[in-house]
Protein backbone atom coordinates (compact mmCIF):
# COMPACT_ATOMS: atom_id res chain seq x y z
CA UNK A 1 0.00 0.00 0.00
CA UNK A 2 1.04 3.57 -0.65
CA UNK A 3 -0.45 6.35 1.42
CA UNK A 4 -0.11 10.11 1.10
CA UNK A 5 -1.41 12.02 4.11
CA UNK A 6 -1.99 15.79 4.01
CA UNK A 7 0.80 16.33 1.53
CA UNK A 8 1.69 19.91 0.67
CA UNK A 9 4.28 20.94 -1.88
CA UNK A 10 5.56 24.49 -2.11
CA UNK A 11 8.10 25.71 -4.66
CA UNK A 12 10.00 28.93 -4.21
CA UNK A 13 9.75 31.31 -7.15
CA UNK A 14 10.96 34.84 -7.77
CA UNK A 15 7.50 36.08 -6.97
CA UNK A 16 7.37 34.19 -3.69
CA UNK A 17 6.42 30.66 -2.68
CA UNK A 18 3.84 28.88 -4.82
CA UNK A 19 1.81 26.05 -3.40
CA UNK A 20 1.42 23.36 -6.06
CA UNK A 21 -0.29 20.73 -3.92
CA UNK A 22 -2.41 21.29 -0.85
CA UNK A 23 -3.63 18.72 1.65
CA UNK A 24 -3.39 15.87 -0.85
CA UNK A 25 -4.54 12.49 0.42
CA UNK A 26 -4.18 9.38 -1.70
CA UNK A 27 -4.16 5.66 -0.99
CA UNK A 28 -3.14 3.05 -3.52
CA UNK A 29 -3.77 -0.60 -2.69
CA UNK A 30 -1.98 -3.50 -4.37
CA UNK A 31 -3.33 -4.09 -7.86
CA UNK A 32 -5.22 -0.80 -8.10
CA UNK A 33 -4.81 1.33 -11.20
CA UNK A 34 -5.47 4.99 -10.65
CA UNK A 35 -5.52 7.63 -13.36
CA UNK A 36 -4.54 11.20 -12.54
CA UNK A 37 -6.16 13.92 -14.64
CA UNK A 38 -5.33 17.57 -14.63
CA UNK A 39 -4.55 20.43 -16.94
CA UNK A 40 -1.00 21.39 -17.88
CA UNK A 41 0.86 22.63 -14.85
CA UNK A 42 -1.69 21.27 -12.40
CA UNK A 43 1.05 19.38 -10.55
CA UNK A 44 0.54 15.85 -11.91
CA UNK A 45 4.24 15.19 -12.41
CA UNK A 46 5.04 16.72 -9.04
CA UNK A 47 2.54 14.37 -7.44
CA UNK A 48 4.12 11.38 -9.20
CA UNK A 49 7.60 12.45 -8.06
CA UNK A 50 6.40 12.74 -4.47
CA UNK A 51 4.86 9.27 -4.63
CA UNK A 52 8.10 7.89 -6.06
CA UNK A 53 10.19 9.55 -3.36
CA UNK A 54 12.34 11.43 -5.87
CA UNK A 55 11.09 14.60 -4.20
CA UNK A 56 10.10 15.19 -0.63
CA UNK A 57 6.87 16.90 0.43
CA UNK A 58 7.02 20.32 2.08
CA UNK A 59 4.74 18.92 4.76
CA UNK A 60 2.70 15.76 5.23
CA UNK A 61 3.68 12.10 4.95
CA UNK A 62 4.33 9.64 2.17
CA UNK A 63 4.36 5.98 3.20
CA UNK A 64 5.39 3.19 0.90
CA UNK A 65 4.61 -0.35 1.97
CA UNK A 66 5.29 -1.84 -1.43
CA UNK A 67 8.06 -1.30 -3.93
CA UNK A 68 7.45 1.68 -6.20
CA UNK A 69 9.07 2.40 -9.54
CA UNK A 70 10.70 5.65 -10.52
CA UNK A 71 8.40 7.89 -12.62
CA UNK A 72 8.47 6.07 -15.94
CA UNK A 73 8.50 8.60 -18.71
CA UNK A 74 10.04 8.66 -22.15
CA UNK A 75 13.38 10.37 -21.85
CA UNK A 76 14.14 11.18 -18.22
CA UNK A 77 16.33 9.33 -15.74
CA UNK A 78 19.15 8.76 -18.22
CA UNK A 79 22.64 10.04 -18.74
CA UNK A 80 23.19 11.30 -22.28
CA UNK A 81 26.93 10.84 -22.42
CA UNK A 82 26.66 7.15 -21.53
CA UNK A 83 25.65 4.40 -23.92
CA UNK A 84 22.30 2.68 -23.68
CA UNK A 85 24.06 -0.37 -22.26
CA UNK A 86 25.85 1.71 -19.59
CA UNK A 87 22.54 3.21 -18.58
CA UNK A 88 21.04 -0.26 -18.29
CA UNK A 89 23.95 -1.40 -16.12
CA UNK A 90 23.70 1.71 -13.96
CA UNK A 91 19.98 1.20 -13.30
CA UNK A 92 20.54 -2.49 -12.53
CA UNK A 93 23.31 -1.64 -10.07
CA UNK A 94 21.14 0.92 -8.30
CA UNK A 95 18.28 -1.51 -7.88
CA UNK A 96 20.51 -4.47 -7.09
CA UNK A 97 19.69 -6.57 -10.15
CA UNK A 98 22.15 -8.49 -12.31
CA UNK A 99 22.25 -6.76 -15.73
CA UNK A 100 23.71 -9.70 -17.66
CA UNK A 101 20.45 -11.60 -18.12
CA UNK A 102 18.58 -8.37 -18.98
CA UNK A 103 20.70 -7.27 -21.92
CA UNK A 104 19.02 -9.65 -24.36
CA UNK A 105 15.55 -8.38 -23.43
CA UNK A 106 16.53 -4.71 -23.76
CA UNK A 107 18.30 -5.37 -27.05
CA UNK A 108 15.27 -7.17 -28.43
CA UNK A 109 12.58 -4.86 -27.09
CA UNK A 110 14.30 -1.56 -27.87
CA UNK A 111 15.26 -2.69 -31.39
CA UNK A 112 18.36 -0.54 -31.06
CA UNK A 113 20.79 -3.08 -32.50
CA UNK A 114 24.34 -1.75 -32.55
CA UNK A 115 23.16 1.61 -31.19
CA UNK A 116 22.77 0.09 -27.74
CA UNK A 117 26.53 0.59 -27.53
CA UNK A 118 26.42 4.23 -28.65
CA UNK A 119 25.91 7.28 -26.40
CA UNK A 120 22.26 8.04 -25.67
CA UNK A 121 22.70 11.65 -26.78
CA UNK A 122 23.12 10.41 -30.36
CA UNK A 123 19.68 8.74 -30.30
CA UNK A 124 16.54 10.07 -31.94
CA UNK A 125 13.64 10.72 -29.59
CA UNK A 126 11.99 7.51 -30.77
CA UNK A 127 15.12 5.48 -29.98
CA UNK A 128 15.35 7.13 -26.59
CA UNK A 129 11.74 6.27 -25.89
CA UNK A 130 12.29 2.62 -26.81
CA UNK A 131 15.37 2.39 -24.61
CA UNK A 132 13.63 4.12 -21.72
CA UNK A 133 10.67 1.79 -21.85
CA UNK A 134 12.82 -1.33 -22.23
CA UNK A 135 14.97 -0.40 -19.23
CA UNK A 136 11.87 0.45 -17.21
CA UNK A 137 10.64 -3.10 -17.68
CA UNK A 138 13.88 -4.63 -16.43
CA UNK A 139 13.26 -3.93 -12.74
CA UNK A 140 10.12 -5.43 -11.22
CA UNK A 141 7.99 -3.32 -8.88
CA UNK A 142 4.70 -3.74 -7.04
CA UNK A 143 3.58 -0.33 -8.24
CA UNK A 144 4.48 1.41 -11.47
CA UNK A 145 4.29 5.19 -11.85
CA UNK A 146 3.57 6.13 -15.42
CA UNK A 147 3.91 9.70 -16.57
CA UNK A 148 2.61 10.27 -20.12
CA UNK A 149 4.44 7.16 -21.24
CA UNK A 150 2.60 6.70 -24.53
CA UNK A 151 3.41 10.17 -25.85
CA UNK A 152 6.02 8.94 -28.35
CA UNK A 153 6.35 6.07 -30.77
CA UNK A 154 4.28 4.36 -33.43
CA UNK A 155 1.22 2.16 -33.01
CA UNK A 156 3.14 -1.11 -33.07
CA UNK A 157 5.43 0.15 -30.31
CA UNK A 158 2.44 1.23 -28.22
CA UNK A 159 1.05 -2.24 -28.58
CA UNK A 160 4.30 -3.80 -27.38
CA UNK A 161 4.39 -1.40 -24.41
CA UNK A 162 0.79 -2.10 -23.51
CA UNK A 163 1.42 -5.83 -23.63
CA UNK A 164 4.41 -5.53 -21.28
CA UNK A 165 2.60 -3.22 -18.87
CA UNK A 166 -1.00 -4.36 -18.80
CA UNK A 167 -0.88 -7.98 -19.91
CA UNK A 168 2.32 -9.20 -18.28
CA UNK A 169 2.05 -6.90 -15.27
CA UNK A 170 -1.72 -6.74 -14.97
CA UNK A 171 -1.60 -7.65 -11.28
CA UNK A 172 0.49 -4.61 -10.28
CA UNK A 173 -0.68 -1.32 -8.93
CA UNK A 174 -0.25 1.67 -11.24
CA UNK A 175 -0.63 5.40 -11.15
CA UNK A 176 -1.10 6.73 -14.64
CA UNK A 177 -0.83 10.36 -15.68
CA UNK A 178 -2.13 11.03 -19.17
CA UNK A 179 -3.99 13.51 -21.31
CA UNK A 180 -5.38 10.67 -23.35
CA UNK A 181 -8.83 9.98 -21.95
CA UNK A 182 -9.14 6.73 -23.89
CA UNK A 183 -5.97 5.42 -22.30
CA UNK A 184 -7.14 6.19 -18.77
CA UNK A 185 -10.63 4.79 -19.44
CA UNK A 186 -9.19 1.60 -20.79
CA UNK A 187 -6.57 0.91 -18.14
CA UNK A 188 -7.64 2.52 -14.86
CA UNK A 189 -10.02 1.25 -12.23
CA UNK A 190 -10.62 4.73 -10.88
CA UNK A 191 -9.36 8.26 -11.46
CA UNK A 192 -8.64 11.46 -9.57
CA UNK A 193 -8.48 15.04 -10.79
CA UNK A 194 -5.91 17.60 -9.73
CA UNK A 195 -7.34 21.12 -9.80
CA UNK A 196 -6.02 24.21 -8.03
CA UNK A 197 -3.65 22.06 -6.02
CA UNK A 198 -6.36 19.80 -4.64
CA UNK A 199 -6.87 16.17 -5.53
CA UNK A 200 -10.50 15.18 -6.11
CA UNK A 201 -11.25 11.48 -5.91
CA UNK A 202 -13.83 9.59 -7.95
CA UNK A 203 -14.88 5.99 -7.71
CA UNK A 204 -15.16 5.56 -11.44
CA UNK A 205 -13.35 7.15 -14.33
CA UNK A 206 -16.50 8.58 -15.97
CA UNK A 207 -17.28 10.80 -12.97
CA UNK A 208 -13.68 11.95 -12.95
CA UNK A 209 -13.88 12.90 -16.62
CA UNK A 210 -17.15 14.75 -16.09
CA UNK A 211 -15.58 16.78 -13.29
CA UNK A 212 -12.37 17.32 -15.28
CA UNK A 213 -14.20 18.71 -18.31
CA UNK A 214 -16.42 20.90 -16.18
CA UNK A 215 -13.41 22.25 -14.34
CA UNK A 216 -11.60 22.86 -17.61
CA UNK A 217 -14.61 24.79 -18.96
CA UNK A 218 -14.79 26.96 -15.88
CA UNK A 219 -11.12 27.79 -16.13
CA UNK A 220 -11.31 28.62 -19.82
Amino acid sequence: MIRLTNVDKVYPTRSGPVRILREVNLTINPGERVGILGRNGAGKSTLIRLVSGAELPTSGHVERHMSVSWPLAFGGAFQGSLTGLDNLRFICRIYGTNPDDKIAFVQEFSELGIYLREPVKSYSSGMRARLAFAISMVIEFDCFLIDEIIAVGDARFHEKCNYELFAKRGDRAMIIVSHDSGYIREHCTRAAVLAAGELHHFDNTEDAFAFYHEEAMLAA
Partner: protein, 268 residues
Protein backbone atom coordinates in the same frame (compact mmCIF):
# COMPACT_ATOMS: atom_id res chain seq x y z
CA UNK B 1 9.44 -10.16 -3.65
CA UNK B 2 10.22 -7.31 -5.95
CA UNK B 3 13.30 -5.17 -5.95
CA UNK B 4 13.61 -2.45 -3.44
CA UNK B 5 10.54 -2.85 -1.28
CA UNK B 6 10.76 -0.13 1.29
CA UNK B 7 8.84 1.51 4.06
CA UNK B 8 9.38 3.83 6.96
CA UNK B 9 11.64 2.30 9.55
CA UNK B 10 13.76 0.27 7.16
CA UNK B 11 16.43 -1.66 9.08
CA UNK B 12 19.75 0.11 9.19
CA UNK B 13 21.56 -2.85 7.62
CA UNK B 14 19.29 -2.67 4.57
CA UNK B 15 19.75 1.11 4.22
CA UNK B 16 23.47 0.59 4.36
CA UNK B 17 23.30 -2.09 1.68
CA UNK B 18 21.31 0.18 -0.64
CA UNK B 19 23.58 3.13 0.03
CA UNK B 20 26.71 1.13 -0.77
CA UNK B 21 25.12 -0.18 -3.96
CA UNK B 22 24.10 3.31 -5.10
CA UNK B 23 27.45 4.91 -4.31
CA UNK B 24 29.28 2.14 -6.15
CA UNK B 25 27.00 2.56 -9.20
CA UNK B 26 27.57 6.32 -9.16
CA UNK B 27 31.31 5.82 -8.75
CA UNK B 28 31.52 3.59 -11.84
CA UNK B 29 29.26 5.93 -13.81
CA UNK B 30 31.41 8.89 -12.81
CA UNK B 31 34.57 7.17 -14.08
CA UNK B 32 32.84 6.44 -17.39
CA UNK B 33 31.45 9.93 -17.92
CA UNK B 34 34.70 11.63 -16.93
CA UNK B 35 37.26 9.45 -18.61
CA UNK B 36 35.26 7.51 -21.16
CA UNK B 37 36.59 4.50 -22.98
CA UNK B 38 39.00 6.32 -25.25
CA UNK B 39 42.81 6.07 -25.12
CA UNK B 40 43.93 5.23 -21.58
CA UNK B 41 40.41 5.61 -20.15
CA UNK B 42 40.14 5.46 -16.40
CA UNK B 43 43.93 5.50 -15.99
CA UNK B 44 43.51 9.28 -16.31
CA UNK B 45 42.13 9.06 -12.80
CA UNK B 46 45.67 9.09 -11.47
CA UNK B 47 47.64 9.97 -14.61
CA UNK B 48 46.22 13.49 -14.46
CA UNK B 49 47.31 14.31 -10.87
CA UNK B 50 50.62 12.55 -11.55
CA UNK B 51 51.30 14.80 -14.52
CA UNK B 52 50.52 17.83 -12.37
CA UNK B 53 52.88 16.74 -9.65
CA UNK B 54 55.66 15.80 -12.06
CA UNK B 55 55.34 19.17 -13.81
CA UNK B 56 55.51 21.05 -10.52
CA UNK B 57 58.47 18.94 -9.40
CA UNK B 58 60.26 19.74 -12.65
CA UNK B 59 59.46 23.43 -12.34
CA UNK B 60 60.63 23.66 -8.74
CA UNK B 61 63.77 21.71 -9.57
CA UNK B 62 64.55 23.94 -12.54
CA UNK B 63 64.02 27.15 -10.58
CA UNK B 64 65.79 25.69 -7.55
CA UNK B 65 62.82 26.70 -5.47
CA UNK B 66 63.66 27.93 -1.99
CA UNK B 67 61.67 25.99 0.56
CA UNK B 68 63.73 26.50 3.68
CA UNK B 69 65.23 23.08 4.26
CA UNK B 70 67.91 20.75 3.04
CA UNK B 71 65.38 18.25 1.73
CA UNK B 72 65.64 17.23 -1.91
CA UNK B 73 63.22 19.22 -4.05
CA UNK B 74 61.61 16.13 -5.54
CA UNK B 75 60.74 14.79 -2.09
CA UNK B 76 59.45 18.18 -1.09
CA UNK B 77 57.30 18.59 -4.20
CA UNK B 78 55.81 15.10 -4.15
CA UNK B 79 54.68 15.40 -0.54
CA UNK B 80 53.53 19.01 -0.90
CA UNK B 81 51.83 19.05 -4.24
CA UNK B 82 50.12 15.69 -3.80
CA UNK B 83 48.56 17.05 -0.60
CA UNK B 84 47.30 20.12 -2.43
CA UNK B 85 45.70 18.00 -5.14
CA UNK B 86 44.05 15.85 -2.49
CA UNK B 87 42.20 18.62 -0.63
CA UNK B 88 41.80 21.15 -3.42
CA UNK B 89 40.23 18.99 -6.13
CA UNK B 90 37.49 17.67 -3.88
CA UNK B 91 35.64 21.01 -3.52
CA UNK B 92 36.25 21.78 -7.20
CA UNK B 93 34.48 18.55 -8.16
CA UNK B 94 31.63 18.96 -5.69
CA UNK B 95 30.73 22.53 -6.52
CA UNK B 96 27.73 22.48 -8.88
CA UNK B 97 27.90 18.69 -8.91
CA UNK B 98 24.15 18.14 -8.86
CA UNK B 99 23.19 19.80 -12.12
CA UNK B 100 24.66 17.19 -14.49
CA UNK B 101 23.17 14.48 -12.26
CA UNK B 102 19.66 15.83 -11.84
CA UNK B 103 18.12 13.17 -14.05
CA UNK B 104 19.52 10.45 -11.78
CA UNK B 105 17.64 11.86 -8.82
CA UNK B 106 14.49 10.37 -10.35
CA UNK B 107 15.63 7.21 -8.62
CA UNK B 108 14.54 7.50 -5.02
CA UNK B 109 17.65 5.88 -3.60
CA UNK B 110 19.99 8.28 -5.37
CA UNK B 111 20.35 11.27 -3.05
CA UNK B 112 22.61 14.32 -3.40
CA UNK B 113 24.76 12.96 -0.57
CA UNK B 114 25.53 9.83 -2.64
CA UNK B 115 26.55 11.93 -5.61
CA UNK B 116 28.96 13.91 -3.45
CA UNK B 117 30.39 10.80 -1.80
CA UNK B 118 30.96 9.10 -5.17
CA UNK B 119 32.86 12.13 -6.44
CA UNK B 120 34.87 12.40 -3.22
CA UNK B 121 35.82 8.74 -3.42
CA UNK B 122 36.94 9.24 -6.99
CA UNK B 123 39.07 12.27 -6.14
CA UNK B 124 40.56 10.58 -3.09
CA UNK B 125 41.46 7.43 -5.04
CA UNK B 126 43.01 9.42 -7.89
CA UNK B 127 45.16 11.55 -5.58
CA UNK B 128 46.16 8.57 -3.43
CA UNK B 129 47.16 6.31 -6.32
CA UNK B 130 49.08 9.20 -7.88
CA UNK B 131 50.93 9.87 -4.60
CA UNK B 132 51.85 6.23 -4.06
CA UNK B 133 52.92 5.62 -7.66
CA UNK B 134 55.07 8.77 -7.70
CA UNK B 135 56.79 7.90 -4.42
CA UNK B 136 57.54 4.42 -5.79
CA UNK B 137 58.73 5.86 -9.10
CA UNK B 138 60.93 8.57 -7.53
CA UNK B 139 62.30 6.00 -5.11
CA UNK B 140 63.16 3.77 -8.04
CA UNK B 141 65.03 6.71 -9.61
CA UNK B 142 66.79 7.25 -6.29
CA UNK B 143 65.34 10.75 -5.78
CA UNK B 144 63.43 10.09 -2.58
CA UNK B 145 63.62 7.70 0.34
CA UNK B 146 60.61 5.84 1.67
CA UNK B 147 58.76 7.46 4.58
CA UNK B 148 60.31 7.03 8.02
CA UNK B 149 56.89 6.45 9.54
CA UNK B 150 54.36 4.94 7.11
CA UNK B 151 51.57 5.06 9.64
CA UNK B 152 51.97 8.76 10.34
CA UNK B 153 52.01 9.54 6.61
CA UNK B 154 48.82 7.51 6.17
CA UNK B 155 47.19 9.27 9.12
CA UNK B 156 48.17 12.69 7.79
CA UNK B 157 46.87 11.74 4.34
CA UNK B 158 43.54 10.75 5.90
CA UNK B 159 43.36 14.04 7.81
CA UNK B 160 43.93 15.98 4.59
CA UNK B 161 41.34 13.88 2.77
CA UNK B 162 38.87 14.50 5.59
CA UNK B 163 39.56 18.22 5.39
CA UNK B 164 39.03 18.22 1.62
CA UNK B 165 35.86 16.15 1.90
CA UNK B 166 34.38 18.34 4.64
CA UNK B 167 34.88 21.62 2.78
CA UNK B 168 33.77 19.92 -0.45
CA UNK B 169 30.46 18.88 1.13
CA UNK B 170 29.96 22.33 2.59
CA UNK B 171 30.87 24.43 -0.45
CA UNK B 172 29.37 21.88 -2.84
CA UNK B 173 25.97 21.96 -1.18
CA UNK B 174 26.18 25.71 -0.61
CA UNK B 175 26.88 26.30 -4.32
CA UNK B 176 23.42 24.90 -5.11
CA UNK B 177 21.86 27.81 -3.22
CA UNK B 178 24.46 30.52 -3.88
CA UNK B 179 25.94 30.70 -7.35
CA UNK B 180 28.72 33.02 -6.17
CA UNK B 181 30.38 30.09 -4.35
CA UNK B 182 31.47 28.71 -7.71
CA UNK B 183 32.98 32.06 -8.70
CA UNK B 184 34.68 32.60 -5.35
CA UNK B 185 36.15 29.13 -5.00
CA UNK B 186 38.59 29.53 -7.91
CA UNK B 187 40.42 32.62 -6.63
CA UNK B 188 40.28 31.28 -3.07
CA UNK B 189 41.85 27.95 -3.96
CA UNK B 190 44.43 29.77 -6.06
CA UNK B 191 45.44 31.98 -3.12
CA UNK B 192 45.35 29.10 -0.66
CA UNK B 193 47.82 27.00 -2.63
CA UNK B 194 50.98 29.06 -1.80
CA UNK B 195 49.74 29.44 1.79
CA UNK B 196 48.90 25.78 2.28
CA UNK B 197 52.34 24.60 3.34
CA UNK B 198 52.93 22.75 0.08
CA UNK B 199 55.81 24.99 -0.95
CA UNK B 200 57.43 25.78 2.40
CA UNK B 201 58.15 24.39 5.83
CA UNK B 202 56.50 26.33 8.63
CA UNK B 203 59.76 26.19 10.58
CA UNK B 204 61.50 28.30 7.92
CA UNK B 205 59.00 31.16 8.34
CA UNK B 206 59.38 34.05 10.79
CA UNK B 207 57.55 33.44 14.06
CA UNK B 208 54.91 36.08 13.25
CA UNK B 209 54.09 34.47 9.89
CA UNK B 210 54.00 31.00 11.48
CA UNK B 211 51.23 32.14 13.76
CA UNK B 212 49.04 33.24 10.86
CA UNK B 213 49.78 30.41 8.49
CA UNK B 214 48.97 27.88 11.21
CA UNK B 215 45.40 29.15 11.25
CA UNK B 216 44.91 27.23 8.01
CA UNK B 217 43.95 23.63 8.82
CA UNK B 218 45.65 22.01 5.83
CA UNK B 219 49.04 23.41 6.90
CA UNK B 220 48.84 21.17 9.98
CA UNK B 221 48.10 18.17 7.79
CA UNK B 222 51.03 18.83 5.45
CA UNK B 223 53.43 19.41 8.36
CA UNK B 224 52.23 16.23 10.05
CA UNK B 225 52.68 14.34 6.79
CA UNK B 226 56.18 15.69 6.25
CA UNK B 227 57.21 14.80 9.80
CA UNK B 228 56.01 11.26 9.15
CA UNK B 229 57.86 11.20 5.86
CA UNK B 230 61.16 12.87 6.75
CA UNK B 231 61.07 12.42 10.53
CA UNK B 232 64.22 13.65 12.20
CA UNK B 233 65.34 15.75 9.22
CA UNK B 234 62.81 18.52 9.81
CA UNK B 235 61.11 20.35 12.65
CA UNK B 236 57.36 20.22 12.11
CA UNK B 237 54.73 22.54 13.57
CA UNK B 238 51.23 21.17 13.87
CA UNK B 239 48.26 20.68 16.12
CA UNK B 240 46.21 17.75 14.88
CA UNK B 241 43.49 18.40 17.47
CA UNK B 242 43.00 21.88 15.99
CA UNK B 243 42.76 20.44 12.48
CA UNK B 244 40.34 17.73 13.65
CA UNK B 245 38.18 20.37 15.30
CA UNK B 246 37.93 22.46 12.14
CA UNK B 247 37.33 19.34 10.05
CA UNK B 248 34.50 18.37 12.36
CA UNK B 249 32.94 21.82 12.15
CA UNK B 250 33.09 21.81 8.34
CA UNK B 251 31.72 18.26 8.23
CA UNK B 252 28.73 19.20 10.38
CA UNK B 253 28.07 22.38 8.42
CA UNK B 254 28.46 20.38 5.22
CA UNK B 255 26.05 17.63 6.26
CA UNK B 256 23.48 20.22 7.35
CA UNK B 257 23.76 21.99 4.02
CA UNK B 258 23.51 18.73 2.06
CA UNK B 259 20.37 17.89 4.03
CA UNK B 260 18.90 21.26 3.15
CA UNK B 261 19.70 20.79 -0.54
CA UNK B 262 18.27 17.25 -0.52
CA UNK B 263 14.94 18.56 0.68
CA UNK B 264 14.75 21.22 -2.00
CA UNK B 265 16.26 19.55 -5.06
CA UNK B 266 13.96 18.91 -8.03
CA UNK B 267 14.90 16.10 -10.44
CA UNK B 268 14.96 17.07 -14.07
Amino acid sequence: MHANSESIGMPLAQSWRIQRRVIWALFLREILTRYGRHNIGFLWLFAEPMLFTVAVTALWTATKAVHGSSLPIAAFAVTGYSSVLLWRNMPSRCIKALEPNLSLLYHRNVRPFDIYIARLMLEASGATISFVVLVLFFHFLGWVDFPEDFLQVAAAWCMLAWFGASIALFFGALSESYESIEKLWHPTSYILFPLSGAAFLVDALPAEAQHYVLMLPMVHGVEFLREGYFGSKIVAHYDIAYMALLNTIFTLLGLAQVRKVSRAVVPE
